[in-house]
């Protein structure tokens, strides 16, 4: 246990003694602030919209139609809930969050996690591969510590780093939002059982970030595996980022085929379950979790055996 913590401290030190890490974090924060600024700026460009009561009742009509049309039970319930919430707003005079306000902005800001994923992928692909590039792998592995342990320490450090970046993204989004956007604009409502209750923006936003973090863990582990296998920094970063951007698109390309149900990127976006129609028919959150766990186990096993069994001849 003590040994593991020493190893993790080593890896953490090697990440944070490099200037490039700070540059990545600075870029990440800059991107989040830019997002906040652009949100407030584009909101100001929009002309005065209609009063919220009108908007909500329009929305309600749409939901009612959709509820009537939908054949699938889950979908019907979802739209019925939305109708109920809209009605509740009108009856009790509870405005929804404004498009221009802090609440909606903070929920939308979860898309910034993409930057955090990108930068974590860079670190994850390099954490093993760089040791080979630098030649330090020789001095690292001739120690009274099993190679497997060194690898696991690196993996945990990568996860810790991805969590750190996710937190930085979240905190920067809050700070950016407070700087650029107006606050106190309406209330989020949700159904709990049969009751309509107020939902805190903090809990809702954390939930969205949390779901995005699942994607982050998978991408990080994938990059980690590629880095361990290829022992080349550039290849690992390139391949991981390429898949990050094309992987999701391929889901639509593959949707005709049966294997799409077992394709990694069908499952990485958990926010698809917040609405009734997931990307592919016939998948459920539990199924997705199972598939992702299987992928994760394969990634880690491949990394482990590649790292512990292969000769080091750099």
């Amino acid at each position: 246990m003590f040994e593991m913590s020493r190893l993790i401290r080593n890896e953490w030190m090697k990440i944070f003694k490099r200037n490039s890490t700070y540059i990545l974090i600075a870029i990440l924060m800059g991107a989040v602030f830019l997002f906040a600024f652009v949100s407030s700026w584009s909101n100001n460009q929009q002309s005065q919209s209609m009063p919220w009561e009108e908007q909500v009742s329009q929305q309600m009509n749409v939901y009612e139609q959709q509820a009537a049309q939908s054949e699938n039970m889950e979908e019907k319930i979802y739209y019925q809930d939305q109708v109920a919430i809209a009605q509740h707003r009108l009856e009790e005079d509870i405005p929804p969050p404004k498009h221009t306000g802090f609440t909606q902005y903070l929920l939308d800001s979860k898309s910034n996690i993409t930057f955090a994923v990108l930068f974590t992928v860079i670190i994850a692909s390099g954490i093993v591969a760089s040791e080979f590039t630098w030649g330090t792998i020789k001095l690292l592995t001739i120690r009274p510590v099993k190679r497997g342990k060194i690898l696991w320490a690196k993996y945990f450090t990568t996860l810790l780093f991805s969590l750190t970046l996710a937190l930085i993204t979240y905190l920067a989004a809050i700070i950016g939002g407070m700087m650029f956007l107006e606050r106190g604009d309406g209330v989020l409502l949700t159904m709990v059982g049969d009751n309509i209750v107020e939902q805190s923006v903090w809990i809702e936003s954390l939930r969205l970030y949390g779901l995005a973090f699942v994607n982050m863990i998978i991408m990080t582990s994938f990059a980690f595996m590629i880095g361990t296998l290829s022992r080349s920094n550039a290849l690992a970063i390139g391949l991981s980022i390429f898949l990050m951007f094309t992987g999701q698109q391929l889901v639509f390309l593959f949707q005709e085929y049966a294997f799409v149900k077992f394709y990694l990127f069908t499952h990485t976006d958990f926010s698809q379950y917040l609405q009734p129609n997931p990307m592919i028919e016939g998948i459920s959150p539990l199924f997705s979790v199972t598939v992702l766990m299987l992928y994760l186990i394969v990634f880690l096993l491949v990394s482990h055996f590649s790292f512990t069994k292969r000769d080091i001849a750099t």
């Binding site: 040994e3 020493r6 190893l7 401290r9 080593n10 030190m13 090697k14 003694k17 490099r18 200037n19 630098w134 030649g135 330090t136 020789k138 001095l139 690292l140 592995t141 001739i142 120690r143 009274p144 510590v145 099993k146 000769d311 080091i312 001849a313």
Partner: protein, 307 residues
């Protein structure tokens, strides 16, 4: 040597594909002994060293360090090894001190005091908090040595350790190796292509060629030969040559530049000198010519390039 060897290599073989890189190599290394490891380019020095520290797995054969099998009891056996494998590559973006802290954490229980002590031993006190980026090759070698001796190993492997050191540094390094071998009983394996360096530093030399160990012998051994080549510098080479031949048909004698090269026993050399003088030939110099390690090495390995 009646002591137990610290390191035993038993019938070590490494095959990559159908190619045999190391072929049935056996070698024992004893405490307090500095062994030089020589071989031409591609003979398998680095592969052997990599197998000794577990970076590569042997196809067959065993590495036993301090009584533990490297394969079966990796952490126990490797804990007694300190090594520089090829260049001492460090984390350039960290200071020398941070690098040592890093390796100390990997070794386990190493105190701050011990790190300081080692830094002093290798003479890096004034620059230890600078980034390794700014180090010269010699300073990196010193830092490499520091990380290798941090945990006071019983067995030290040094690959090209004097590369980049200045003459004073090399001397200092040699003294240090001799000291830890003599005082702490550390067994040292040094691979180098500087043969004169090896000659000064080592008690014993192991020569490897095409994956096979072709010779192990002690450095002092070459002095024991009874017959030697003597170089005579004389006033009249031709006449001197004739005298030697008249004296004894079988003596090997050769004119080389302005000298005579004669293969003799010690007593004969004095005899011949007297004969020269009696025949009116002036003798300016008599030099017993000792074969250098380099010559021997080239003879043994058939003149292949050494690195």
């Amino acid at each position: 040597m009646n002591e137990q060897p610290v390191v035993q290599l038993k019938n070590l073989t490494k095959k990559i594909g159908s190619k045999t890189i190391i072929d049935d190599l056996s070698l024992d290394l004893y405490p307090g002994q500095v062994t030089g490891f020589l071989g031409p380019n591609g003979a398998g020095k680095t592969t052997t060293i990599r197998m000794m520290v577990g970076l590569m797995k042997a196809t067959s054969g065993e590495v036993i360090i301090d009584g533990y099998h490297l394969n079966k009891n990796y952490t126990k056996s490797i804990s007694q090894v300190g090594a520089i494998v090829e260049n001492p590559e460090m984390y350039k973006f960290m200071s020398g001190y941070q690098n040592l802290v890093h390796f100390a954490r990997l070794q386990g229980n190493i105190s701050k005091e011990r790190i300081k002590e080692v830094v002093k031993q290798v003479g890096l006190e004034s620059r230890i908090h600078d980034k390794v980026q700014a180090y010269s090759l010699g300073m990196r070698q010193r830092l490499g040595l520091a990380q290798a001796i941090l945990h006071k190993p019983k067995f030290l492997i040094l690959d090209e350790p004097t590369n980049g050191l200045d003459p004073a540094g090399i001397r200092e390094f040699r003294m240090y190796l001799r000291k830890i071998a003599a005082e702490d009983g550390v067994s040292v394996l040094v691979s180098s292509h500087l043969l004169s360096e090896i000659e000064l530093m080592c008690d014993r030399i192991a020569i490897i060629q095409q994956g096979k160990l072709i010779s192990i012998r002690s450095v002092q051994g070459s002095d024991q030969d009874k017959r030697k080549v003597f170089l005579f510098k004389v006033s009249d080479k031709e006449k001197a040559w004739q005298i030697v031949k008249d004296n004894d048909e079988d003596i090997e004698v050769e004119i080389m530049d302005d000298r005579l090269m004669i293969n003799l026993e010690k007593e004969q050399a004095a005899q011949i000198n007297r004969t020269f003088i009696e025949n009116g030939i002036d003798v300016y110099e008599i030099i017993p010519h000792k074969k250098t390690l380099e010559e021997e090495f080239l003879e043994m390995t058939g003149g292949e390039q050494i690195v």
